[in-house]
Amino acid sequence: MFTFTIDYFILIILASIGVIQLGALYGGLKGLLFSKSIVFTHFVGFSLPVTAFTWFFMTDSRNINDYAGGLDSNIQALLFFLGALTGWILTTILSFIINIHMKRKDLSPFEGLDSLKKTNYFNALIFNLKYWRSNWRLQMKRYLLR
């Protein structure tokens, strides 16, 4: 049960890193990419999920009932969420290190993911948090009820 859980968790982490790369590429979110090369990003985006699924299914028998060591649907959904979240965190850290010099001053606090077209994740996050810390009273009503 424990090994199965860990295996599934690793599968989702690896696959989600690849999928986020593809999503970021098609969304033009350069600050999230590991490389500026479209070919390399496609390679990482497709090869990571394919390798992860191949490893998962090749290493053990995966058609197991949940009471016999498999995962029930609730645990599976929870692990998927945690795995995708871990994949997202690893992506932001790695892309920050790779794109550390990607800094822009003309950011807007309302852009969200769109700001990653111009800068890396942590630069955008710090900019947003600074802005919202000093303007949250003023902006909250206007922004949320806009």
């Binding site: 599934y8 995966r62 009932n65 016999a68 498999g70 969200g112 993911l113 955008a124 947003n128 949320l144």
Partner: protein, 193 residues
Amino acid sequence: MASTDEALFVAINGLVGQSHLVDEIVTLIVSDYLVPAGLGLLLLAMWFIGKSQNIREEYQIGVFVCLTSMALSNLAVLVINIFYSRARPFIDHDVNLLFYEPTDPSFPSNSIAATCGIAMGIWGVNRRLSIMPLILVGFYGLARIYAGIHYPLDIIGGAAIAALVTFFVFKLSKLVRPLLTGVLRIGRILCLA
């Protein structure tokens, strides 16, 4: 109707053993971890694609719709199973089983209702993007009949429930759109949406 359903099941499941390669592929497709995880990953990709903020917002609301459709389709199956419980094919028939023996009722197919809920949700957002998931879910359904764990009517029932639920979820999403947009705006503060 029931006899046709069973006859069709026997015909499809009777193909097991004729090709080792097909059996292996079906064993892979029918797994609880391939198609559901694949669709989940597609939703994750959908969160990021979209060249502008407005397009991305449509996709992100679509992700909420897909997840809600999946959850409500599962709930609908659960409610139906309180009133109606059909035994799995391997209980009543001599079946070539390629999967473990599930303990929940056969009709309607819970797995198909959930995965179809996601695929039809994607169809509501982007027709082109939904082609691959719909084909995948089609194979998933066929594989579950081939593997001996569902009758064809279970699959059709699961898909019909998902279609109905997704339709209502899309209608509902228009009503709660300001709430969803508000959630996305909060996500934008943390550069998550």
